[in-house]
Symmetry: C2
Subunit: 332 residues, 2 copies
Amino acid sequence: KKRKPLTLDDYVEGILAGNRTILSQAITLLESSLPEHSELAQQIIEKCLPYSGKSVRLGITGVPGVGKSTFIEAIGGQITALGHQLAVLAIDPSSERSKGSILGDKTRMETLCADPKAFIRPSPSSGSLGGVARKTRETIILCEAAGFDVIFIETVGVGQSETAVHSMVDFFLLLMLAGAGDELQGIKRGIMEMADLIAITKADGVNATKAKSAKIEYQSALMLFPATESGWSPKVETCSSLDNAGIMNIWENIESYVALTQENGYFHNRRKDQARYWMIEAINSRLMRNFYNSREVKANLELLEQQVLDDKISSFAAASKLLSIYYNSEKH
Amino acid sequence: KKRKPLTLDDYVEGILAGNRTILSQAITLLESSLPEHSELAQQIIEKCLPYSGKSVRLGITGVPGVGKSTFIEAIGGQITALGHQLAVLAIDPSSERSKGSILGDKTRMETLCADPKAFIRPSPSSGSLGGVARKTRETIILCEAAGFDVIFIETVGVGQSETAVHSMVDFFLLLMLAGAGDELQGIKRGIMEMADLIAITKADGVNATKAKSAKIEYQSALMLFPATESGWSPKVETCSSLDNAGIMNIWENIESYVALTQENGYFHNRRKDQARYWMIEAINSRLMRNFYNSREVKANLELLEQQVLDDKISSFAAASKLLSIYYNSEKH
């Protein structure tokens, strides 16, 4: 016999009671592309909103090979041992998946998966970055309503996702390998300046000395960066997930950051700015999507773009032409 | 008797003949807010487009006090002495002017102002950053058609203008003071990673030693940055406009960069990317302007935003509501 579908109240009550199965189902609902699903998901989110917000949201990034999954296992275990409820989400859209998102492969975090205080949810398997980012942000709300008070948003430091993550978290953690060589080629420029803490991983065995000097190098580099708005001076730390060394220290840094920014008001203000940003972002991306998906624009865009590239028409004149075409078509 | 207004052909012929008075008048035309002026300006730009592009476009930024005007005087004099025709433009919109744009005050570059091979044009005195950026980009086209083969776009490293400048130049030059102290507070985070060359200014007298160690510090910091797409490794140099020392070296660096990137194709590809970017940017900003200026949106935006900030509605639900309101109003 077919299971009776859950009602809005079933979902909300289940989430607020911390029921992971219902939480998972609600997330699946908001990831669905069916209109009736996303409508129900929106209602669930609205009902959960008043119970959300009471968490620390952490962004975590690093190139493949940096040891992100073992790091999350290690720090995650310590966080739940302290009594926190931890949710681990990912933001990499499918197109970037192959580049190394770990959460597609839950088996790499076996201990955390079995931890009753942890909840791990892989990235939605399809969709644009904008779409995935929105879903991740909505998933945060549901997880918080379900009682999770530490949220990790994991991403791979090679794409565009970092800016999206940065705009939905309180603290941004960058994992790096010692040895400023080829590994760095993979990190996008600009990501280093987003970091509140750079953790040099695999600081163990023969690597320990290299990690220590990398720490000093990065520390002097960060000192040359302009001051942050948060009042926090970005830190560099070494750690080893293998030896379980330095992991607790990173969590303590995060706690210090939260204490500082809650004290000086930055934490709260940034959350408000982010809420505003996502409203504006959602509006702007829909305005653009409607434009670029319009039949008339599609029929003319390529030709005009080519004329721009051939210096036959200026960028601005081409834009004007396309806009006239679009607004005229809208009127009919 | 009133002067007869110039025709389209008068403008184009004047510009192509390198007539600065007519060039200036054409720029004034494109800066004008009168529709008939901007229409004529657009026609002039279209006619000049085929003659544009043959220049090196340089972005130059630095906080007030870094010595930007004396630096531009010093390097400008050397560039024109080599036989180049130099145009100096600015991009800071009026709202940022007070923070230190030098070009509002031409008198600070007396020698260059008197140089027959140089053309200095202050920033438009009003308008949004987007508007000013567009006008600056169009001014580049006119200057190039008038025979200027080196274009400086000056901005103050404290605002949002740097990204706009970065997206219209071939090379980005950041001026810094020695002493990684308070001076740095003024530079926005992220600007350092845009720089193709950091020039430490005022490396003279008692400052010389400090400048030299600053150079070494910045060099090691830059080495930690991810590689650039251009294949160029960003440089750090010291210079003194007072002693006229190191200035020629900076110009030679720029020449090396141009040679390298013209050889490897990056120069050309980036110009194409920029042309495409400005078309998309012009479209997107107009779509947004029309939305946010609509009467119905204005009537509802503030209330919905407040509800978002109070966690009464999600960012995305608020966005959906505003979009429905907008598109419904468009249909009537």
